[in-house]
């Protein structure tokens, strides 16, 4: 797999696109965790998820990319926005979005990043994956899901049902716990 791999530099065309998308994703993710406006954070999250979806496309995982767009960019962010709205968060910049734990958190995050980046670079410096379009199309993926992974898939459906019921129970104020 890695025998005839080209060097890391210069990057090929898809790689350049992917790196640009990755930069957008990382930058918008940074904005998500640093912005002073709740709503902006949700919107930067949309950008981040969109960039990631683009990344998936470059990686030939088309189906995952569309699902990403559908569920994350569509459903999840909308859900988050509803959450923000329902908790009556202030619209506009608010000062106290970061807790006093910030510096410890930054330290831990930087350490995590250092460890992870070091490890993956050491481990996969020479790994090369030639891209073949059509690998992650809906058809092979669907076949795989409904043949090999059908049991986990069904289990997930049960999980979703349970989450649905749980969310309903939690949200409704007229259902009381057993006293």
């Amino acid at each position: 797999m890695t025998s005839q791999a080209p060097g890391l530099w210069p990057p090929s065309g898809p790689e350049i696109v992917f790196l640009l998308l990755g930069a957008v994703a990382v930058g918008s993710a940074l904005l998500v965790v640093t912005t002073r406006q709740l709503v902006h954070a949700a919107l930067w999250l949309v950008v981040c998820f969109g960039a990631l979806a683009g990344g998936y496309l470059v990686l030939t995982a088309e189906f995952v990319a569309w699902v990403q767009v559908l569920i994350y960019v569509g459903a999840v962010v909308v859900l988050l926005l509803f959450g923000i709205m329902l908790t009556r968060a202030p619209i506009g910049p608010s000062a106290g979005l970061d807790s006093g734990n910030r510096w410890a958190a930054a330290l831990v995050a930087v350490a995590t990043a250092a460890v992870l980046v070091t490890v993956v670079i050491t481990g996969f410096r020479s790994a090369y994956a030639p891209l073949q379009p059509g690998q992650g199309a809906a058809e092979p993926l669907g076949a795989s899901v409904f043949r090999t992974w059908v049991l986990p898939f069904e289990a997930l459906s049960v999980l979703l049902l349970a989450a649905l019921i749980g969310a309903i129970v939690l949200s409704r104020t007229d259902i009381r716990g057993r006293e």
């Binding site: 709740l38 990686l59 995982a61 990403q68 994350y72 459903a75 995050a109 790994a127 104020t173």
Partner: protein
């Protein structure tokens, strides 16, 4: 496509998610950060799936599953956040301190019975 690129980006995203989880006060922002971490994992899965050319598409299928689970998690998480908001009128994580020990009255830091010794 060198595997290093997606994997490094995924590591950076994950670390950013860690920072967000640890540093943000608002519970909804914390949930967003969790989503960031999950996406980092998804990127990883997809990259390795592509690299290993899995015939069963284990990586991508697992990515789909993770997306589903993330949706379920987010739904439940938001429900919990709303429940907390209903009772406490706040969703600031560092002000929800029910886990802490019951704070005693000042000056009574000594154990009972120590005076009798």
């Amino acid at each position: 496509m060198h595997v290093v690129y997606p994997v490094v980006i995924s590591a950076l995203l994950f670390s950013i998610g860690v920072y967000g989880v640890l540093a943000r006060r608002n519970a909804i922002l914390v949930l967003m950060s969790v989503e960031l971490m999950l996406n980092a994992v998804n990127l990883n899965l997809v990259a390795f799936d592509v690299w290993l050319r899995d015939r069963l598409h284990g990586g991508q299928v697992l990515t789909l599953f993770v997306i589903v689970i993330a949706a379920a998690e987010l739904g439940l998480g938001l429900a919990i956040v709303l429940a907390v908001f209903r009772t406490r009128r706040t969703v600031d994580v560092d002000r929800l301190r029910a886990l802490a020990e019951v704070v005693r009255a000042p000056g009574s830091g000594r154990l009972d019975g120590e005076d009798a010794l």
